[in-house]
Structures are given as C-alpha cells and as structure tokens.
C-alpha cells in the first residue's frame, strides 16, 4: 500500500511539473541600458492648401532642429526616407520607417487661410506601431509660425521624455559688439534658439544681468545710465522702463524676482559694504535681509519662495549659502576647493547651478540644495552666469575667450554635462536669462 501511494505521488508530481512550466514565464532583469540620442524622422508637414506649402517644410525643420538641439534626439535626414507622407490621415507605413531605424515619427499637416495658420500633428512610436498620445492642433497667425513649431516640438519632447519642453521660451541677454576695450552693450531678447532678436536698450550705457519676471512680461536689469549701477524694470511688450531703486549714495545690482513676481531681491552697496535687500514692487518698501561686514550678493529664490541661495565671502572666500527668504541664519552649502558664485535655484527645485573658479579655470556646475553631489559640467578660461531652462534640464551661460581679442558668447549644456553647444547670437552675448514657457 505504501509503495502504491509513493508511486502515485511521484507520478502526479511529474505530470503537474510540466504544466506549471508552461504557465510560468521566463523572468529576467535588465539593469544596464544605453544612453544615446533617439533617432526620429520629421517629414515635411502636408500642406492642406496651396498657401500652406511655404510653411510645410519650415515647420518641420524648426521642430527637427528643436529636438536635435537637445542632444536627446537625432534626426534622420529626408534623403534616407523610403516612403513619403503625402496624406496626414493615411496609415503610416511603419515598416518603411523601421527600415531606416526611425524610432519616433512626427507627421503633420498645415492649413493657411488668410493670415490664419493651423497646424495638426501626430507622434508615432514606430517600432510599436502605436501613436504616442492623441493628435493635436494649434492655430495662430502666420507671423507666429516659428512659435507654433516650437509648441509642436515641446509636445513631442514632452510625450517622449515625460518632461516639459522648453522650446517656446525666450532668452534675455546682453548683446556685445566692438573690441574688448570699447565694448558696446545692449539689452536684447530673442527666441531660445537665437531667432527673432530684438534690442531693448541702446548702447549708450552699460547694462548687466537681465532677469525675467515669472510671467515673462518684465525684465529686471542693472544699468550704469546714471553713472552708478541702478536697478531698472522694463516692460518687454511696450519696451518701457523705470528705475526701481535709486537711493542716493548707494549702488544696487544683482536683482531677481520672487516666484510670485511681487518682490525683488537685490544687492545694495552702501558705505563700502554690500548686503542683501528685498523690495515689494507694489509698495516700494525695502527690507534688509543680511547685515554683515562681508559681501553678500547674487541672491536667488527657491521655486516655492521660502528660501534664498546667495553668495558671500563671510568665510574668507566666496561661497554659497542658503537662508530663509525673510532673512535669518544662513547655512553654507559649498565646501569644495575654489570660489563659488552666481548660484541659481533650478525651477524644479532639485539643483542649484553655480559658477566655480578653481586653479585658474572657471566652471559651470550643479549641486543638490544641501551641497551634495556637486558636479562640474564645463571648464574654460571664463564660464559664468548660469540660467536654467524652464524645465530645469538645460543650463545656458556666458563663455568668454582669453586675450585682447577675447569675445563673449552664449553656450548651453545639459545638466548631465552632455550636449555642450554654442547659442547663435548676431553679435557676442553675455548674461543670459531664460524666460519661463510662454
């Protein structure tokens, strides 16, 4: 009897085991991947009307340039295309796009009626044969076709990466021309990619450090128009300005808006000492935030407006400190070798960008808000003045070359340190300030 039961048990086990094997999947874990630009194709948008033909290629080119400029995407040129997109509604021939290794595909159509421009587009995951999200449509005037292209690119970027884009944004900067000893400086504003440059001031006075308001409609900057540095606020739309701080016997500079746009932080030099102050724009009331014999400058708010990161030499060398927005005890967060300055809080709140000088070289770097995970992204004769893209993934800064013929230019770099590239400006450029998304 015992032998029978044992045989029965073993037989049952042998029968059940294969069935279980068939039902359970193979399990593996992938912990290593690759980091490389994602190949995509952006064929010319299909013109719905004859008048739209001139925009069909231009829109696609701007979208492709936006995406490629991030370093996260790589465009596959049209000469590699196997099939063309002749109808926006026609099914996508995924096999043709797979064959050229396009992993993402942007198809679109453009319609022009009078001066009204309408853009429709879809984003496809080629290898999965699936659409990423639903199709979208933007409408505007033909004058704003570049901006609409930027908006399309922002959507593509957002749907593939999961992060907000930054293409529909602008940059205020100081346009520099002429030799180094007679440099002419003008305040200018342009699209993030260097298009549509407009000058906001003439070159009669030195201007420095423009800073956008949270809504992007106003710019703070410092001007030597009166002989000493003064802070001005300029309405970008109307190109009208007014002095914000004009206390006699003082110099004011390094202004920065609060996240709600109601308060301005700035440095005030008085009697040989420089401290941080804040001013309510509505009432004009100012309040001192620091009171120390050292130099406190370059303040920047945290995104929630509760804290301020700034630069101070109270320890003997310029270092970075954080304190409550209304003043109070400051704690030092930079402890590496060298001098730290111009800290800027990321719009995401996770990092602080800064300028560092060490061993005769300048660096743009990032660190966590507690000072940890410091990482230097660039190195050159002179890099300074970082500003964050609205999505907190890209940093723009000033790079100046050495020597009497040295020139200033704008550069951008991903926070990973990849994709370091110059930003096109008509002349030299410095002191960039990135606007929020429009």
């Amino acid at each position: 009897m015992m032998k029978f039961l044992t045989s029965l048990f073993l037989g049952t086990a042998l029968l059940v085991a294969p069935a279980q094997a068939q039902n359970q999947p193979l399990r593996i874990e992938i912990t290593e991947g690759v980091i490389e630009p994602l190949p995509f194709a952006a064929p010319n948008f299909v013109p719905d009307t004859p008048a739209a033909a001139e925009y069909s290629a231009q829109l696609a080119r701007v979208v492709a340039a936006d995406l490629s400029g991030t370093g996260l995407f790589r465009e596959i040129g049209s000469d590699a295309y196997i099939s063309q997109v002749s109808s926006f509604e026609a099914p996508v021939q995924f096999a043709d796009w797979k064959a050229i290794n396009a992993q993402a595909l942007v198809t679109g159509a453009v319609n022009v009626s009078g001066n009204q421009l309408t853009v429709r587009f879809r984003i496809w995951d080629v290898f999965s044969g699936a659409e990423l999200g639903n199709g979208l449509q933007f409408a505007g005037t033909t004058d704003g076709w570049r901006r609409m292209a930027h908006k399309v690119a922002d959507q593509v970027y957002s749907r593939i990466t999961g992060e907000t884009g930054y293409f529909d944004s602008r940059v205020a900067f100081v346009s520099e021309s002429g030799p180094k000893n007679q440099r002419r400086k003008r305040l200018a504003i342009m699209d993030y990619d260097g298009a549509n440059v407009q000058y906001l001031t003439d070159s009669s006075a030195i201007v420095l450090a423009p800073r956008f308001s949270p809504t992007g409609d106003r710019v703070l900057y410092t001007s030597y128009e009166s002989g000493t540095p003064r802070i001005y606020v300029l309405d970008v739309g109307r190109v009208q300005r007014r002095v914000l701080q004009s206390q006699e016997g003082t110099m004011s500079f390094a202004p920065r808006f609060s996240p709600d746009g109601q308060t301005v932080l700035y440095s005030l030099a008085q009697g040989g000492n420089t401290d941080l102050w804040s001013m309510n724009i509505g009432s004009g009331q100012s309040a001192r935030l620091t009171n120390a014999p050292s130099i406190e400058t370059a303040p920047s708010y945290s995104p929630d407006g509760s804290q301020i990161v700034f630069e101070s030499d109270r320890s003997g060398t310029p270092q970075l400190y954080i304190m409550p927005a209304r003043g109070g005890e400051a704690r030092r967060i930079s402890f590496g070798k060298g001098r730290y300055g111009t800290p800027v809080w990321s719009p995401r709140g996770d990092y602080i960008a800064f300028t560092k000088q060490n061993k005769g070289r300048f660096h743009i770097g990032v660190m966590r808000t507690d000072g940890s995970e410091e990482r230097l992204l660039t190195a050159s004769f002179l890099d300074e003045g970082p500003t964050w893209a609205p999505n907190g993934r890209v940093i723009m800064f000033t790079r100046e070359t050495q020597g009497a013929s040295g020139r200033s230019a704008l550069y951008s770099v991903d926070i990973s340190g990849r994709n370091l590239r110059p930003v096109r400006t008509p002349d030299g450029g410095s002191d960039p300030a990135w606007s929020p998304l429009q």
């Binding site: 042998l14 085991a17 294969p18 279980q20 094997a21 068939q22 359970q24 999947p25 193979l26 399990r27 593996i28 874990e29 992938i30 912990t31 290593e32 991947g33 690759v34 980091i35 490389e36 994602l38 996260l72 995407f73 992993q103 995951d125 290898f127 999965s128 990423l132 593939i160 990466t161 999961g162 992060e163 021309s177 995401r348 996770d350 990482r375 230097l376 992204l377 660039t378 190195a379 050159s380 790079r399 070359t401 050495q402 020597g403 013929s405 040295g406 020139r407 230019a409 550069y411 990973s416 340190g417 990849r418 370091l420 590239r421 110059p422 096109r424 400006t425 008509p426 002349d427 030299g428």
Partner: protein
C-alpha cells in the same frame, strides 16, 4: 710524576698544537659573494617603475583628449603646423635619383608653398566672425553613446547596428546554403558620461575600450525537462554555475516529453539580457522615469521575435503613473527593436521563453 701522566701531557700538548697550527681550524674566510647595491629613495624607485605602467593607458588617439584651446580663432591655424612635418617627401625622392634621376620630382616642392598660404587664408577678422559665436569649440565627447561596456568604433565598412552580426556570404559547395548577411557591429560607446570639466588634460586615454564579448551558447540538451524557471536572478555571476549544473542535471535526469525543454542556462539568459540592454535607451527619459522600475511582459514567437502588440506593463514602482508610462514605452521600444531579427534563444526550449517577464530597473543608469 708518573710516566703515564707525562705521556698524556705530551700527547695533549701535541694535539692542541696540531689543532692550532696544523690546519683543523682554518682562519681563512668562507666563500662570500659580494654584490654592489645602491640605496635609492622611494621617489627614485617610483620614477624608475613609472614608465612600466604608462604604456598600458596610452592607447587612444590623442586628438580626443586634447585640452581645449580657449581661443577658437587661435586654434584654427593649428593644422598648419603639422604641414612642415609632412614635408619629408625629400627622403622619398632621394633614393630615386640614384638609378634614374628625375629632376622634375626634386624640382617641385609644392608643400612649402601650401604652408605659406594656409595661415593667410585663415586670419580671422574679429568683426566678420560675429555671426559665429567665438570661443573654444566644444571638445568632442569620446562617444555619443553610453553603453554598459565601452565599445570600440566599428570598422568603416561595417554597417552600424544594435547587435554584432558576423558576415555570411554564399559559399559554393556548402551543404546548406545560408542567406547572405551583411556584417554589422555596434556603434562606438563609452561606459559613462564625461563632462568637459572631467576630461583629462592628458592627451593620452586613461583606459582602452574593450570589445564586448558574446556569451557562449551551450549546446542544446537532447532531453527535455519540466522544471520551471528560477526567480529573477540578481547576481548572474554567482548563480550561473549553479543554474548550468541544475539545467544539465535536470535535462539528463528527466525524460518527460514536454515541449518546454530544460531551463535556460545562465549564459542563455545573459545573452537575452544583453541583447535587450543594447536597445534599452534611457537617454531621453525624464528624471522621474529614471526613478521608475517597470515590469513588462511579452509573448514570443518560436523564431525568437517578440509579438509587438503583446507587450504589456505589469507593474511599476518608484515613480508617477506618467513616468511609468514613459519608462514602459522605452522598455517596449527596446524589446521590439532589438528583437526585430529574433533573439538568439534555443528553439528546443521555446516553452521556457514563450512568455517573458522583463524587469527594467534603471537604478544603475542614474549614476552614469
């Protein structure tokens, strides 16, 4: 005094005298080898041994590691400097005149003229180059691709692809004609992101990339088994041997006619893991998505190709639902794209890999 005592005394004195002067205790020194040894300091020793280590790291072209030139315009004339060094066409021309002098060759030294012209052509005008932002041009990164292991640049005549494929050409007289196949190789890659600030000023490379080795594929077992898969292995190196032995033992011990075959060996699973890794591109993922681990299921065809519309998100952890969706889409692209030609999986074990659950954990990619 007794006679015996005298005789004893004489003998003892004789014995002692013979011992001292007769050669028993030789005063000559034993053979001794002397070698001249010079004492050196630790610094001198380090200096002597340093050259032995240097050749190991000097392996890459020095151009990639050149410290950047701060002035773009100044850097441009640099190509003119090597020109005079390339001027030794003269040594080549000298041997020829011996058998048959050729005055034409000797008489026309064109290279010096080119050297003279090049700098004049590239004199930058500060005003005219305003459209081109000046400054040191960004140094090229070692490679545009970051992979688990560095990959050397493929030969120029090899098609870049996600997988390495040996060339196959039609062979006359072969028993089985194989379709012709173009040779492909993976694109050049580094194993981590190098920022401009981290680039070494030393022009020599600090390490040489090693080509990735393909895991060996064991011979298929003739006997099938019904044993099921282990849970996900997190330490393949330590478990591979155990799994191989288990698969072999089970494959030999059981003679069940189940179609699933024996479990996949560690090498076979590693091959699948590496194949998917080569297409798992996390470079375009958001920070939130890079904090999200997703578990994805996929049904496979017997030829090793995944069924595209079967890829499903089973589970996610660490991020928002939106981040999970981005991470899932990246995982789906990896599975479908690298499986387009079929994964290298043993056909006789199809039942073991007919359904696969892949966990994509980006934790190690966040620190690249």
């Amino acid at each position: 005094m007794q006679t015996g005592t005298k005789i004893s005394g004489v003998l003892h004195v004789t014995l002692v005298g013979w011992a001292l002067f007769g050669g028993t205790f030789r005063s000559e020194p034993l053979p001794f080898e002397v070698q001249d040894v010079s004492v050196i300091s630790a610094e001198e020793y380090a200096a002597l041994t340093a050259p032995k280590q240097a050749p190991e790291v000097v392996d890459a072209p020095s151009d990639l590691q050149q410290p950047e030139q701060p002035d773009d315009q100044v850097a441009v004339p640099a190509p003119a400097e090597p020109e005079p060094e390339q001027a030794p066409p003269e040594p080549v021309a000298q041997p020829e005149p011996e058998p048959e002098p050729q005055p034409d060759v000797v008489a026309e030294p064109p290279d010096p003229e080119v050297v003279e012209e090049t700098p004049t052509l590239e004199q930058p005008d500060p005003e005219e180059v305003a459209l081109l932002p000046p400054g040191p041009r960004p140094q090229p990164r070692p490679a545009d691709r970051v992979a688990p292991q560095p990959v050397a640049p493929p030969p120029p005549d090899v098609k870049p692809d996600d997988v390495d494929t040996p060339p196959v050409s039609a062979e006359e007289g072969a028993e089985e004609q194989q379709p012709e196949q173009e040779e492909t190789a993976q694109k050049e890659a580094t194993d981590q992101i190098v920022t401009e600030a981290e680039e070494s000023p030393d022009p020599a490379a600090q390490s040489s990339p090693r080509p990735k080795s393909r895991p060996s594929r064991p011979k298929p077992e003739p006997v099938q088994t019904a044993e099921q898969e282990d849970p996900p292995d997190t330490s393949p190196n330590t478990q591979d041997a155990v799994e191989d032995a288990l698969a072999e033992a089970l494959g030999g011990a059981q003679a069940a006619p189940a179609p699933s075959g024996p479990p996949l060996t560690g090498g076979e699973k590693d091959a699948l893991r590496i194949a998917v890794s080569n297409c798992w591109n996390v470079g375009s993922l958001s920070t939130d998505a890079l904090n999200t681990t997703v578990v994805v299921s996929v049904a496979m065809q017997p030829d090793g190709r995944p069924i595209s519309n079967s890829v499903r998100l089973l589970d996610s952890s660490g991020g928002s639902s939106a981040a999970a969706q981005q991470a899932f889409e990246a995982a789906r692209r990896a599975i479908v794209r690298c499986g387009a030609k079929g994964y290298d999986l043993p056909t006789e074990k199809y039942g073991q890999w007919q359904n696969i659950e892949m966990t994509f954990n980006p934790e190690r990619m966040r620190i690249k």
